[in-house]
Symmetry: C3
Subunit: 147 residues, 3 copies
């Protein structure tokens, strides 16, 4: 009888632990050395959700915006998001929500043409144009990922 109680308690303990692990938060530093002093984390992980900081089309090895306008920047932005996700063993297929901020709404079609090649699982999405983005970027994308 005692054995059964012990087994039951251990099982409950394991289960409880797995529930409690749901209450954790991790502020992830960037894997990019040149972003060490950035005032934001590349991603914050809570439970199964990863809230990523907005990415622009910056080549983080040089910390300069890639040349080539909306097309090149959209590609680099997605590449940057993918790199952060990969660092946490995630991929673009884990993205559940995208907020896309353009600097010019007329770039919508061009950005979208590239976007659809990468986010095939169709995260929910909101798109608008800002009056200005950091580093004079043409596009910024913020994503939420789910493990």
């Amino acid at each position: 009888m005692k054995n059964i109680l012990i087994i039951a308690m251990v099982l409950l303990g394991v289960l409880q632990l797995s529930c409690e692990q749901k209450n954790s938060v991790i502020f992830h530093e960037s894997h990019e050395l040149k972003k060490a002093n950035a005032p934001f984390s590349d991603a914050v992980e809570i439970d199964n959700l990863f809230f990523l900081s907005g990415q622009i089309g910056m080549d983080h090895s040089t910390r300069t915006l890639v040349e080539g306008g909306i097309k090149a920047e959209t590609l680099q932005t997605i590449k940057n998001i993918e790199a952060v996700l990969k660092h946490h063993n995630l991929g673009l297929e884990n993205v559940i929500k995208c907020t896309v901020i353009l600097s010019d709404i007329n770039d919508f079609a061009t950005f979208n043409e590239i976007y659809i090649q990468y986010f095939k699982q169709k995260p929910s999405r909101t798109t608008f144009a800002a009056s200005g983005l950091a580093a004079n970027a043409s596009i910024e994308i913020e994503v939420v990922a789910f493990r």
Copy 2:
């Protein structure tokens, strides 16, 4: 004794299952036939949360923006959100957070007058004006709902 252990294990199994169901993600296709090729889901469901794509005042049966400016578009936008929620057995009362994007901040009072009639439970809200919205819309609203 064996019986008790079996019962305990089954109960634990059920409980574990109910916990595991919390780790699911569903990319919901639109109920609107004309949105089948949209590069985003109308809603993505994770655990108890529904992240909806931003909606504008588009009549999805014709895929054109309703006429009548901010007033008509606000009504249609809310109607579109309600239709997505209803498709998942949810209602506007399940909305916990709204992001409201206007194309002109001077439309704030008019939009708000309509808004308060529908979101009576007072979701948290952030409102700003963009420099441009898709389809030349006057308003876009993105919501998060909770079951």
Copy 3:
């Protein structure tokens, strides 16, 4: 034998209850008397997450924007966020995600200088400039906090 079963059931009940408590939602009224009629909650709490409404640099005791431009408004905005968090026994260190909306992207450096003094744990962040904010504000900050 019956005793063991009863103990196991009670333990399971407690555990189940702790899981079920994860499905709650609370629309928190503002602690500011003058915001009683605002069409949004200061914060909506679901499970361990607090979705706060966007705050601007408004002195809520007078309901007027503080004077002094981006510097003064950034400070007041953060103070307002801190007050809402404190009302729920949270602090700025609980913030996991910030959306920063400026009215002029050229205010970025000034806003950031103040920001880094308060959000030291580095929430993930997205920043952009809008074409307009409510009350002619220079900055609006929306945060998500986690207990």
